[in-house]
Symmetry: D2
Subunit: 129 residues, 4 copies
């Protein structure tokens, strides 16, 4: 499991005084970006080669709202990994309790918009048995 | 069904040249805000009374990427409506074809974070039989 | 002068209950994008040719905060126009009174990060004498 | 001078492949939030008391674009401090060179939209002689 810290800033909140619902998707992508970089994927080089990661599906539950200056942790695990698709389970936690939880399906597209194989480095991210 | 137009701006795109995945959630909320206002809900008055709409769940499929200066349409329908919860089906369309599709569950919370009844005006938004 | 309407959505507000200060820059860029498209500039074609508009300088005054569901108008005029640089005066208005006002200097950069000439279509946007 | 690290994520970029111009204002506010918290200002308590920081003026120069996965540093200094107004000089640096530079004027407003005194804790943030 990958662990990534986030602090909530003014920009993240809305007039309800809580984190705006779309911003959790920004948080969890930051965590995914850190993780794939840690295992050796260079997204700038991928893009120069015409390949980008794209999200295909998000299934998200909003459990408890996060608030300004909360110190959060994004926990990321791999649930499924095939040659062309990976499914992440991502939780945004505060003081050990989940505020937000999502299953995120990611694939790679080339310039022509076709699905292509995931980078080989990703293979180290194996799901639990 | 409610229809709402969106144009894609620079701010919405990312370095992959397409609309950043979290921004579809902004698009579909704009459409929901317009709709609830059209049926007479005043979200400023609700908030002054300590009640806000919150999203509880999003199930989203990203089908085809939207791009800069695309003219899109958000189609919104009600799938389920109870006293405390509504489920919207929302599609982002381009030239009649869906790019993005989501089921969004919304509830109302009061100041204490408790679920409260939806505003009465919402009841006109009946799901199809 | 170019006129462009904006409604304030949830996504634009912050926990102070007002529009987050960075979001005025999003608003005024939407207005600039509409204007340059109206005079015939195709930013997608420009980008395919390796040229993009970039902002070089912003001088912004925040006069009165905008709020959720405000219906605003962005007024844009050209203050200066040379072959390589244009300066816009942009005001965000509500009910005829300015909430925000900015001078924005824009140039064009090529792939190598060099300043290049502005698109010829821009020349119709002459400043007042 | 206050030092604050930022990494550039996908969400920050636009289709030009660089950080979208409004997002520098998000970056520098994160730095200001960290700093005022470090000197003992509790913005949640302020807000509960009906007082918020607001930006009154931004004068920003965009020197060199930041890119995806850049590791940046926000340097913040106080240029002027009176009872009701502070002016920050903020630079976004990469490898010791400035990419973005801004003078930001901040004040405090109460519920009625009136300017009120800055929190006393701020007084430790003295400008250089």
């Amino acid at each position: 499991m990958h662990i990534f810290p986030i602090r909530v800033y003014y920009e993240d909140t809305d007039m309800a005084g809580i984190v705006y619902y779309a911003n959790y998707l920004r948080y969890i992508e930051r965590a995914r970006s850190h993780w794939v970089r840690e295992v050796g994927v260079d997204q700038n080089a991928m893009r120069a080669a015409g390949v980008v990661f794209v999200v295909r599906r998000v299934e998200a539950d909003y459990l408890v709202p996060a608030r300004f200056e909360d110190d959060l942790v994004v926990e990321t695990s791999i649930m499924k990994l095939t040659g062309v698709r990976m499914v992440f389970l991502q939780r945004v936690m505060k003081d050990g309790a989940p505020l937000f939880e999502a299953l995120v399906t990611v694939a790679c597209l080339n310039d022509a918009g076709r699905v292509v194989r995931l980078p080989a480095e990703i293979e180290v991210l194996q799901p639990p048995n």
